[in-house]
Amino acid sequence: MSLNLLFWAYTLIWILLAGYLGLLGLRQQALTRRVDRLRARLGSQTAGKQEPS
């Protein structure tokens, strides 16, 4: 019983820490996608401005 509880305590601690790191990774990915979209928008606006009228 005692060892069982000890095992679960440390397992849950590692799961929580890994989960938080995973969450940060997901946020980083979402941010990278937003930066890519911004880059694409900026690229199209710059191309529009450079076209001869």
């Binding site: 509880l5 000890l6 440390y10 601690i13 929580l16 820490l17 941010l31 937003r34």
Partner: protein, 230 residues
């Protein structure tokens, strides 16, 4: 050496030191620390439970300091620090609330009891969950940062209450720090406690650093998106 390379090398070094500290902590907890006579092996939960609790107190103290600094200066970096520290504090507080009942089941025969230390710790966790939820209900970044700063300062009032709760309302929870606690540790246990404390402090620093850089980047992207819309 350019800045990007410097940052990468620094972060690799920090993660390497953290890994070494974590391995030393695990070695200390399971191999070096003596077996507690009354509680047995389940007492080893304490070596991560206690540093996580102190880490969460430190994190919430930083949130309070960042809140005061934001209200005085209105600089966004204080808001980033407050949010980052609150998130890591909630993570540490969750570790405390998860590991505590597992120890309690063996020591007290029950998962949870509404005694002072446990109840005030749960209230602390709920207060900072509400702090993190503030951003969901407002679009204005200024308004959100101001509200978060105020909540962060007010919520910190619960930290001393949690700390002194075992002395003010004598419950079942062992008193670790201070004289006369039945939960006082034997001298052979303290080196392991110190290693775990250093590990959690380092973990706190690294996680807050990561979260802050993410918050800064999110803010820059938001600025650019707003600029493009106007």
């Amino acid at each position: 050496m350019n800045l990007a390379l410097q940052t990468t090398v620094r972060s690799i070094c920090l993660w390497a030191v953290l890994t070494l500290c974590m391995l030393a902590s695990i070695h200390g907890v399971f191999l070096d620390a003596p077996r507690e006579r009354v509680m047995g092996d389940v007492q080893r939960i304490f070596y991560f439970h206690f540093p996580a609790a102190l880490g969460s107190f430190l994190a919430f103290a930083v949130v309070c300091f960042a809140g005061v600094s934001y209200l005085c200066t209105r600089q966004r970096r204080w808001d980033h620090l407050g949010r980052a520290s609150a998130e890591v504090g909630v993570l540490f507080c969750t570790i405390v609330l998860v590991s505590g009942p597992l120890w309690a089941k063996s020591a007290w025969g029950t998962w949870w009891t509404w005694e002072a230390r446990l109840t005030t710790m749960l209230v602390l966790w709920l207060l900072y969950i509400s702090y993190l939820m503030i951003g969901l209900y407002t679009d204005s970044r200024e308004q959100r940062a101001r509200a978060a700063a105020v909540v962060g300062i007010v919520a910190f009032l619960d930290v001393p209450i949690v700390y002194f709760s075992v002395k003010w309302w004598r419950g079942h929870h062992p008193i670790i720090l201070g004289r006369g606690g039945e939960g006082g540790l034997s001298p052979e246990m303290w080196p392991v406690v110190w290693i775990c404390l250093v590990t959690f402090l380092l973990l706190y620093g690294i996680l807050v650093g990561l979260r802050m850089s993410l918050a800064r980047a999110e803010d820059i992207v938001l600025d650019m998106e707003e600029h493009l819309q106007n």
